[in-house]
Amino acid sequence: MSSPPRTCPAKAGTARVVRPRFVINAGLVLILALIPVYVAATSDAFALTLFTRVIILALAALSLNLIMGFGGMVSFGHAAYLGIGGYAVGILAKEGIGSGFVQWPVAIAASAFYALVVGALSLRTRGVYFIMITLAFAQMIYYVAIGLDRYGGDDGLTIYRRSTFGGLVDLNNKAMFYYLCLAVLLASIYLVWCIVNSRFGMVIQGARSNERRMRAIGFPTLRYRLVCFVIAGAMCGLAGALLANHTNFISPAMMHWTRSGDLIVMAVLGGMQAMFGPLFGAVTYLLLEEGLSRVTEFPNLILGPVLLLVAIAFHGGIDGLIAGVRRG
């Protein structure tokens, strides 16, 4: 709260202080890395399935956080990219193309292309209008998926074979698949970190806080924001490809608007403008959901008010709490 703690890092600029946030982030990554070991020791196979899901959705929330937390673009249709990535894998698998070297790039390219179209049309609007138009575009894709009779329509489509990588990685090996997801997530966090701290990222964040000023300085902010939007879409498409491989199933429900709401919840819960925020958010939200549904038959009776409480009481989500530890 008071000023002395804030001036500390500046004074101690030369000495490397190990910050609590770093310790907590590293601790979480370490725990996640050890999950398969725990599973091998206890043969609690469900934990691996749960945490694979957590990590994949954390990747999706991370991509949302890039545009929402750093770019100030509140997309309420982010689950659409999850669905597009998933359907790219599912459709190619059904048509007999099982190679991940084809499926995954197609998933990324398709969602990037869709993000380009949506972004080009909707980035001209602001505030609630932007929230609503991204929602509308996601609903469109949702109904397109329902109309795809050949690929299951409303009922969805089972994927009988996971993506193959020519013997390089075997996705049917659950631990290996888990580590692949974790590696993709950590690489993506690093990528987001690089983007945010680059000149490009500075422009994006500048446009969030004062777009008119950024334009006055001479940056074509719309183009910058659009590129950022496309990167986020592509990243979420990759998460969709992972999710389809994880569940062996795709359906329009992947992109129902409440799924987009879930992603927003994860990003906000973890704390936006924090690199590891979406991961914390996904871990907290999904574990809370899972834990509550084991204790009670009506988990959302507790989960709902918890979200409301977080919205009312906490600024900055879990990361804000961690930062509070540092200050206090």
Binding site: M68, A136, P305, L307, L308, I312
Partner: protein
Amino acid sequence: MLYFIEQCLNGIQLGMLLFMLAAGLTLIFGIMDLVNLAHGSLYMLGAYFAATFAAWTDSFVLGAMLALAATALVGMALEVVAIRRLYGRNHLDHVLGTFGLLLFFNELVRLIWGPAGLTLSLPSEMLSAVQILPGLYYPLYRLVIIAVTLAVALLLYFVIMRTRLGMLIRAGASNREMVGALGINIKLLYTLVFGLGAALAGFAGLMQAPILTVQIGMGENILIAAFVVVTIGGIGSIRGAFVASLLVGLADTIGRTFVPDLLHAFLTESASSSLGRALSSMMIYVVMALVLIVRPEGLFPATSK
């Protein structure tokens, strides 16, 4: 031609129901600057209350009136307990908080009424069809919906444009600090507006209940349609919401009816039916995207900020 008129009537009926939801949403948007994802839950509650009370009292009308009062009360209680604390926060906090409320209400309904849906049956005299044009029979109840919602819309217009309360509501939308400074109890005003919005949503739910099954999550898809209406109309504008409701209602119904036939002229039977289904469900979103591309603030942007 008769078929076309019948579909137009269906479209108007859907549009009027959407208006009941959208009017509340746009009031809450415009006055409290709140994104309320839980609005669909109030719609659902209205339907559940109506089904329950109608079964208790054995009268549709009495049940509907009790349900209306109950939904308004729930809305006001919700405002006092939770929503009030979200004013003045950013839209993301609204989304997070009201998304939590939506989960809560869905679960609460499952706890109270169980996972299976309810049905609300109409009084027998409502079940008939009337001949409105030579050769065109139309279900009486749907006409009743159009008439009653139109009456409510007029009443709403009267309340907002011609009464002291309405004047305060309009004043609150354009400059809330000034209204507060002039000695108006702004907290009470907000609670009343939220209650009014809840009552309108509940009303839409209970009117729709006899046509559809009363089930959990029934408010979710129609909520999105209502958001589309609010966005097309211009956030905060009731007049815009009215025009946009009819536009969306007609676009949706006519799209569903005629797009598959239109496609059939070019495509095979199965291709046109599946593509047509997708295209017609997308219709309202296409309309919305087009409107926002041409007019990023909607058709009737509220002039005040």
